[in-house]
Symmetry: C2
Subunit: 354 residues, 2 copies
């Protein structure tokens, strides 16, 4: 706690005190590979029937990456604390009004990750504040189901993961272990394969491909040899993943190598969803039960040409006709806040029941 | 130059001056992914016929990685300068006795890399010293041909590259672009595929494999989930590549997944050699010309069980019956020194000719 006391991020609370009570708020935070988004919503929400249209988001703040595997634990924590302080300041609120916090973070893969972050978070918020730490995929699922943990979410942006929950609380995940551990369906994975294809065409190991022209033009480089320096000058996952549009445009122009890479990514993403659905038996015994399939991330966004998201949906609904694709209308940070809100409101119900 | 003047590494020269003249020396340096080795040889060498048995290596020093793509330019330069000073001190020599220097460095992929390092090196050695900067593969080739640049070398250690020269000085390379750009035949590539296979078995995307037990035992971890933290805690290429023995032992025990990974690595390594041999037409027009195929690196070392090097040789000699496999008896740093020595001695011959 000492270390964080020395930080200035909470100084604003002394200048603009807020009385605890009717204006209680909930914080939802989504820390993905590329950015950290934090929203502040009112704890007094309307009935869930009208949730989607009347979401009381009071403020929103954005910061850089907070995946501890990617930027280190110290930077990750500083980013998270700063963005939480900022969103409360923007909302004209402060920590005394916070009822619950849900951090949904990429890189939370093990109960020990979760506990470490909970312990740290407890130093920032007093004991009555409900704290939740989840993998960022959980918030993405909640963003498509308005806070209900049921179904399967597939995220494919810079990274990729599939994450599912049954209605009775069992959970399973597939992929999501980052580029070294083979997330080939991700934006990073697709781009790394494309870069590899350019190198192979250049040195004679592989066929010529339009990817060479598309990627070199995009990066304003004159030779594939220069890609080596470009890649290792800053091998951040997001920077590599940003080459995705060059792969899609090459594939749309009919390039076989690019088409093969995108088809392989569809197979990879389908395999992730399939692994989760099978382990949780989300499709029921006859394989036809209905469940939400929430699709999130830049790789899966609708596209007039080569539409990776549509191909994945087609391939999954062929196996599981009950899969009901959902493209969320709110962002994952709101999903995180809704999750926390669901927990708090169900406790309120329990309180009344007693 | 100012920056390096402030360094203390050359102070020993003031304490033990050596007169320039008969005891001229040559430095050869091999900077690979895992370590930097520098040797100091006498410039007055015996005739090349007896070279292998009477190599006048005066001193040898070892330091950490000096690949600028991996550790950064500053660290790489400091490591190189320090190890050169150390080897001269050990040899009881100093810079005034140096006739030529050959740095063979992983990460030198482009003429601009070469020029940048030559410019820096020129600040350390006076103008009469001959300086050579090459990719580390060139020194490895020279270590198998006693300094002659002809044939093809295949290196597979932490990284992998194939590099070839024709007798008339044309050169070509394949692979060697590091793990992000698809060097799948390398120790790193094999280990990363094995780690991926463990994650896929764990989450249901792939078949069960003995690799799970072998890798977790080797790292003393209890669950595949912990591999994520292990991997990103320090994703250095050498650390990942050190898992290779677990893949080999799994394959030897009959594990299909591990066997598939090793067979794929043989295909990758063969493809690299093939690309170089074809572009340079090392096999001649009839495909049967003789050329040395120098095999270097931990992945290719002879092994009683699953012998990756032997499989690669078998697969290449099937395509090119004239390929003559050589396992060098001197290390690449000596190859670098022999390269420099060859240049200097051919100049001596030219001097006499004039």
């Amino acid at each position: 706690m000492k270390r964080y006391r020395s930080r200035q991020v909470w100084n604003f609370e002394m200048e603009t005190p807020v009385s605890r009570g009717s204006d209680d708020v909930i914080l939802g935070l989504d820390g993905g590979a590329a950015a950290t988004v934090c929203v502040c919503i009112s704890a007094a929400m309307p009935s869930s029937g009208h949730l989607a249209h009347t979401l009381p988001v009071l403020a929103r703040s954005v910061a850089g990456c907070s995946n501890h595997n990617s930027v280190g634990e110290t930077t990750a924590r500083e980013t998270i604390e700063m963005v939480m302080a900022e969103v409360l300041l923007k909302a004209g609120s402060n920590r005394s009004a916070v009822r619950a916090v849900c951090l949904a973070l990429a890189g939370v893969n093990h109960p020990s990750d979760q506990q470490r972050i909970l312990d740290w978070l407890r130093n920032i918020f007093p004991i009555h504040v409900k704290l939740f730490v989840e993998n960022d995929a959980v918030a993405a699922l909640a963003s498509g189901t308005m806070g209900k943990l049921h179904g399967c979410v597939l995220i494919a942006g810079t990274g990729t993961i599939a994450y599912g929950f049954t209605e009775d609380g069992r959970e399973a995940r597939a992929a999501g272990a980052g580029p070294i551990l083979g997330d080939w369906g991700s934006g990073y994975g697709i781009a790394a394969k494309a870069l590899t294809a350019v190198m192979r065409a250049h040195d004679g190991r592989g066929p010529q491909t339009l990817l060479t022209y598309e990627i070199l033009s995009m990066l304003r480089l004159s030779s594939p040899d220069e890609l080596i320096g470009w890649t290792y000058a800053d091998p951040s996952w997001t920077r590599i993943a940003s080459l995705l549009p060059a792969v899609v445009s090459s594939a749309e122009a009919g390039d076989e190598v690019a088409n093969r890479i995108l088809h392989d990514s569809v197979l990879e993403l389908t395999a992730s969803v399939r692994a989760v659905v099978q382990r949780l038996e989300l499709c029921g015994e006859d394989g036809k039960d209905s469940f939400p399939l929430v699709m999130v991330g830049g790789v899966l966004e609708a596209n007039d040409g080569w539409d990776i998201g549509k191909e994945v949906i087609d391939s999954i609904t062929k196996i599981y006709p009950g899969a009901h694709p959902v493209r969320p209308t709110v962002e994952p940070a709101v999903g995180a806040a809704l999750l926390a809100w669901n927990h708090v409101s169900s406790e309120l119900v329990s309180d009344y029941d007693m």
